[in-house]
């Protein structure tokens, strides 16, 4: 055996660190996907931290908390902004809410009925889709917004003849409730 196997009871270190240059670029590029000014608006006044255990979770936190993070090596800080998987940044629901405030691209707007179906975990067909940004291409991940422009989750758009004809539910804010139920 070349390497010793670690003991199952061995304590796993919680490594808190700032993103590397490359990780930062991946995150910024994902934010720019939803609009050029999104990174600047979303990150202004905040720091990004990465918690590396078995995964690389990304947190968005008020800028003046860095000394406390270094001292306490916390369980979590601020909002969970997303997760880095290889060279891909997956944005969380809390991250999506923030991004939606400044997004100008890749948005699909639902009517009231469609919004309710979507937060109950359903995908959507034509009639419930009220409007969309013209830059959306087939299979794009999109921000799914209500009739009031409020963030409901992420979807995958199906486009035919320049029209968004359906949205597959990737994740929606109903998850907050469903995860509570799972806990009980």
């Amino acid at each position: 055996m070349l390497f010793m196997q670690s003991s199952r009871s061995q304590k796993i270190d919680r490594i808190w660190r700032r993103p590397t240059k490359k990780e930062g670029e991946i995150i910024i590029s994902k934010l720019e996907y939803f609009g050029e000014s999104v990174p600047e608006n979303v990150l202004k006044g905040y720091d990004l931290y990465i918690l590396e255990i078995t995964r690389r979770e990304v947190f968005l936190v008020k800028r003046d908390l860095s000394s406390l993070i270094e001292i306490f090596k916390p369980y979590a800080v601020g909002i969970t902004f997303g997760e880095l998987k290889g060279n891909v940044f997956m944005i969380s629901l809390a991250g999506g809410y923030l991004i939606s405030k400044y997004a100008t691209k890749k948005r699909v707007f639902l009517d009231r009925e469609g919004s309710i179906k979507f937060i109950y975990g359903e995908g959507l067909e034509g009639p419930d889709i009220e409007d969309w940004d013209e830059d959306i291409e087939d299979n794009d991940v999109v921000l799914v917004l209500s009739e009031n422009g409020e963030f409901l989750g992420f979807g995958r758009a199906k486009v035919k003849n320049l029209r968004v004809v359906s949205v597959e539910n990737v994740i929606d804010i109903g998850w907050y409730l469903r995860s509570e139920m799972d806990e009980e």
């Binding site: 968005l60 909002i79 923030l98 937060i119 804010i173 907050y176």
Partner: protein, 319 residues
């Protein structure tokens, strides 16, 4: 630690046995409440048995109270104002609050009015370093955050992984970005050498006051009181150790048990030299006096028509 439990458990009367039997409490608990409240004990127990009030706290980081009220009323909810302009009683619900879009969007937190008092007593200010010593699932922590418009530095500690996971979900839903969540035994906080301007200790307790929500507490074992008091005093000592000179500790519980309330405040005054701040008021909120101790306050389900709670504000000396 001396004088851990000083408060008597009187022998139950025949009537106490009858009430206990009818409502499913232990006779000792009924006798104890009679000791505190006299004949009002029947009113308390009946109020606990029928309590169904539901309150929400508007997350003012995301929406104004007026806009939320208007939206929920359009959905068929009926809201009634409270003494807090950003809290409402929900008197009619066409469907469950937590399945509303507004809940999922993080526009409000479901919380009893009695639980909104401790952050008000703490009176958090921007730039203060604040410790919430038994924080999960985060109702009071996120309230503190919104009171400072996310401008305080908040450290929230809890020992339970499950409860912390719930707190993290709430923090994400509400979109609060100035909370550092730590899983640890709060009694060990002093080892980090960080000092705080204010500490909130909403202590783990026997929970007599939340029996309307958790009836399993009707039959709490007597030995639990002693272990709770020991833990509470160790947490108070930990809070004292990390407070800056002149710093404030808000101590609260959700129980009527005097040893967990007034007894612990006496401990903080007599053993730790803390000063009881007794001149606070909250417009529109009229709490009841403490049990044999002035300057501390209680809520009872039959009087304030909220869940039961206890509140004290203590100050560490300037030296």
């Amino acid at each position: 630690m001396k004088n851990v439990v000083e408060v008597a458990w009187p022998n139950p009367t025949k009537e106490d046995f009858e009430i206990a039997d009818r409502y499913g409490f232990t006779p000792q608990l009924v006798a104890r409440w009679r000791m505190i409240l006299g004949n009002e004990v029947k009113d308390l127990i009946e109020a606990m048995n029928s309590y169904s009030r539901v309150f929400i706290r508007v997350n003012t980081l995301k929406i104004s109270p007026r806009d939320l009220k208007e939206r929920l009323e359009k959905e068929g909810f009926v809201l009634k104002d409270t003494f807090l302009e950003y809290a409402f009683e929900v008197v009619k619900r066409p469907y469950t609050l937590s399945s509303s879009r507004e809940y999922l969007l993080g526009y409000f937190y479901i919380q009893d009015l009695s639980s909104m008092i401790p952050p008000l007593l703490l009176d958090p200010k921007p730039r203060e370093k604040i410790l919430d010593l038994a924080a999960a699932p985060g109702g009071k922590t996120t309230h503190i955050a919104q009171m400072t418009n996310e401008k305080a530095k908040i450290v929230a500690i809890d020992i339970s992984k499950r409860r912390l996971a719930s707190m993290r979900s709430n923090v994400n839903r509400l979109g609060v970005k100035n909370i550092v969540m730590i899983r640890m035994d709060g009694r060990k906080i002093a080892s980090y050498n960080v000092r705080f301007d204010k500490v909130l200790l909403d202590a783990p307790c026997t929970g007599e006051g939340v029996i309307p929500r958790d009836p399993s507490r009707k039959t709490i074992k007597l030995k639990e009181y002693k272990s709770r008091v020991t833990l509470q005093r160790e947490l108070i000592k930990a809070a004292y150790d990390v407070l800056k000179p002149g710093g404030l500790l808000v101590y609260s519980t959700c129980t009527y048990a005097p040893e967990e309330n007034e007894g612990n405040v006496k401990y903080a005054i007599e053993e730790l030299g803390m000063e009881l701040i007794d001149d606070w008021t909250i417009d529109g909120f009229k709490p009841s006096e403490g049990y044999k101790l002035k300057g501390v306050w209680r809520t009872y389900t039959h009087r304030q028509r909220t869940l039961g709670a206890f509140y004290a504000v203590l100050k560490k000396s300037e030296d």
